[in-house]
C-alpha cells in the first residue's frame, strides 16, 4: 500500500511489488481459498491453452492444469514477487509440467513418482514489459511471430511446444543444425526487438 502510494506520487518504484497477482499469491501462503479462486479465474485460460497446445488432448491437458494449480496452491511460497512478475513464472511452470508429461508418455514410462516437482526460476521482466497491457502484448507477439519464415516459426514452436533440442529439430525439419540455431536465436531476438520498438 505504501509503495503504491509512493509510486502514484512519482517518488517510488513502479507498483510491481503490489500487483494483484503478487498479493493473491501471498494470500495463498496463508491458505486463502478465495485468493486461489481469483488466481485460477484470472489465468487458467492461458495455462490451459498452453498445456493443450503441448499435449493436444483435452483430458490430459486438464489433468496437467490441475497439477499445476495444485502445485501453486501447495508451494505458493516458492514464488518470489520481488524477482519478477507472476504470469511468466506460472506459464513456465505449466510448460515444464506439460513437457514432462509429454516426454514420459513418449517414453512409455509414465510414472508419476518420476516427474520432477522442481519449480522454475522467476524471470525478471524487462523494462519494455510495462509498455503494453497483456492483451495488446499478446496481439503484438502473434503478429511478430507470424512475420517469421514459416519454417523458422515452426522451429521455434517445436522447441517451445514440443521441447525439442536443436539437433532434434534439425533432424525433424531436415535442415542443417546451424540453420536451426540461427532461426531460433534470430526469431527470439526479433521478438525482443519488436516488443522494444513499441516503446
Amino acid at each position: 500500500m505504501f509503495l503504491a502510494l509512493l509510486a502514484n506520487l512519482g517518488i517510488g518504484p513502479a507498483p510491481v511489488e503490489v500487483s494483484l497477482d503478487a498479493t493473491l499469491v501471498q494470500s495463498l501462503v496463508r491458505r486463502d481459498v478465495n485468493a486461489f479462486e481469483q488466481l485460477y479465474d484470472r489465468h487458467s485460460r492461458h495455462v490451459y491453452a498452453l498445456v493443450l497446445r503441448i499435449l493436444q488432448q483435452a483430458a490430459t491437458a486438464e489433468e496437467v492444469v490441475q497439477d499445476v494449480f495444485l502445485q501453486l496452491w501447495r508451494n505458493a511460497a516458492a514464488y518470489d514477487a520481488e524477482r519478477g512478475p507472476f504470469v511468466p513464472w506460472l506459464l513456465t511452470l505449466a510448460r515444464n509440467r506439460a513437457l514432462d508429461h509429454l516426454r514420459l508418455k513418449s517414453e512409455r514410462q509414465r510414472r508419476r513418482e518420476d516427474q520432477t516437482d522442481e519449480l522454475p526460476p522467476v524471470a525478471a521482466a524487462p523494462e519494455y514489459e510495462r509498455e503494453l497491457d497483456e492483451r495488446r502484448r499478446v496481439e503484438r507477439i502473434r503478429v511478430l511471430m507470424g512475420g517469421l519464415l514459416p519454417r523458422q516459426k515452426r522451429a521455434i514452436e517445436l522447441a517451445y511446444f514440443e521441447g525439442l533440442s536443436h539437433s532434434e529439430i534439425a533432424a525433424k525439419l531436415s535442415e542443417p543444425l546451424g540453420t536451426v540455431k540461427s532461426w531460433i536465436r534470430n526469431g527470439i531476438l526479433r521478438l525482443k526487438e519488436g516488443l522494444q520498438t513499441v516503446s
Binding site: R53, Q66, R185
Partner: protein, 263 residues
C-alpha cells in the same frame, strides 16, 4: 571466468531449453561461475520465451476442472485448519508463566524475609519491654531511695571504714521505706566478688543477718536499698559490709570493711 561473448549466442536457446546436453552444461557452468551479464541476459530471455505461450490458440478449461480444483483446495485448507493444535500455548504465554513463577519465588522469598524481620522486631520489642521494666524498677528504687534519703524521719547511720584507705559510707534508715546505703570512690572488689550488707542484732550471741549485695560502678559509686528491714531499728545493733564471693554468703567470711552503729 570464460569470456561471456562465446555464450551470448546460446542464451536464447538455453532459455528455450533447445540446447543439446553438452552446450547446456557449458552455459550452466559459465553461469555458475558468476557471469552477471549472462545471468541478466538469461533472465530476459526466459521472460521472452515465456511470452511464446501466447502463440497457443485460445482455449477454455471445463467448469468441471474448476469445481474439482476448488473442492480439493477447500478440503486441504480445512484439513490444515483442523490440524492446527487447539491448545497450543502461545510464546507470550510461556513468558507470562515464567514471569508468574519468578514472581511467586520472589514473593515467597520476600515473605520469609518479612517474617524474619517481624521475628527480629518482636525479639527487639521483648528486649525493650524487659529493659523498660528494669528501668521502671530502677526508677521505683530510685524514688524510694530518694524518699529515704530526704525524709526527716530517716535516721542517718555513718559507716566509717576500718582502713584509712577506704572511703566513709553513709546509711539512712527509714522505719517504713527501708535502708539506703550509698558510697563513693569505693574500690571494685577483686574478680567477681561482691560487697554484702549485714544487720548485726543486739541480742547477745545472735548471728549477723545477711542482707543485700552490691558492686560499685566504674566510678566507684553504689547505692544499696533494703526494702524490708526489721520493723524495729532498736533490735539492730549495727550495720556492717563485708566482701563476699559472688552470690553472697549466709555468714560473713571476711572481716567487715565498713561498720556503722545504729545508736
Amino acid at each position: 571466468m570464460a569470456n561471456g561473448d562465446q555464450f551470448r549466442e546460446l542464451i536464447e536457446a538455453y532459455a528455450l531449453g533447445a540446447l543439446d546436453p553438452q552446450e547446456r552444461g557449458s552455459v550452466e557452468a559459465h553461469l555458475a561461475a558468476g557471469c552477471a551479464d549472462c545471468a541478466k541476459a538469461v533472465d530476459e530471455a526466459r521472460w521472452l520465451v515465456s511470452q511464446l505461450a501466447f502463440l497457443a490458440p485460445d482455449a477454455k478449461p471445463s467448469d468441471m476442472l474448476r469445481g474439482r480444483l476448488l473442492q480439493t483446495v477447500r478440503a486441504e485448507a480445512h484439513a490444515a485448519e483442523s490440524a492446527k493444535p487447539a491448545a497450543v500455548i502461545p510464546f507470550w504465554m510461556w513468558g507470562a508463566l515464567a514471569a508468574l513463577l519468578l514472581f511467586t519465588i520472589y514473593t515467597s522469598w520476600e515473605t520469609i524475609q518479612v517474617r524474619k524481620t517481624i521475628d527480629a522486631t518482636n525479639e527487639q520489642a521483648k528486649q525493650e519491654i524487659a529493659k523498660r521494666h528494669e528501668l521502671a524498677e530502677e526508677l521505683t528504687i530510685a524514688q524510694r531511695a530518694a524518699i529515704i534519703l530526704t525524709d526527716p524521719r530517716s535516721v542517718k547511720i555513718p559507716m566509717p571504714a576500718g582502713s584509712k584507705d577506704m572511703p566513709k559510707l553513709d546509711a539512712m534508715w527509714h522505719a517504713e521505706m527501708g535502708i539506703v546505703v550509698t558510697g563513693q570512690n569505693v574500690p571494685m572488689p577483686a574478680g567477681n566478688r561482691t560487697l554484702q550488707l549485714w544487720l548485726i542484732p543486739k541480742t547477745p550471741g545472735a548471728k549477723p543477718m545477711p542482707s543485700m549485695m552490691v558492686r560499685p560502678d566504674a566510678d566507684g559509686k553504689f547505692m544499696l536499698l533494703v526494702a524490708n528491714p526489721p520493723d524495729n531499728m532498736e533490735s539492730t545493733k549495727a550495720l556492717a559490709i563485708t566482701e563476699e564471693p559472688a552470690g553472697g554468703s549466709q555468714a560473713p567470711t571476711t572481716r567487715p570493711i565498713w561498720v556503722g552503729a545504729t545508736s
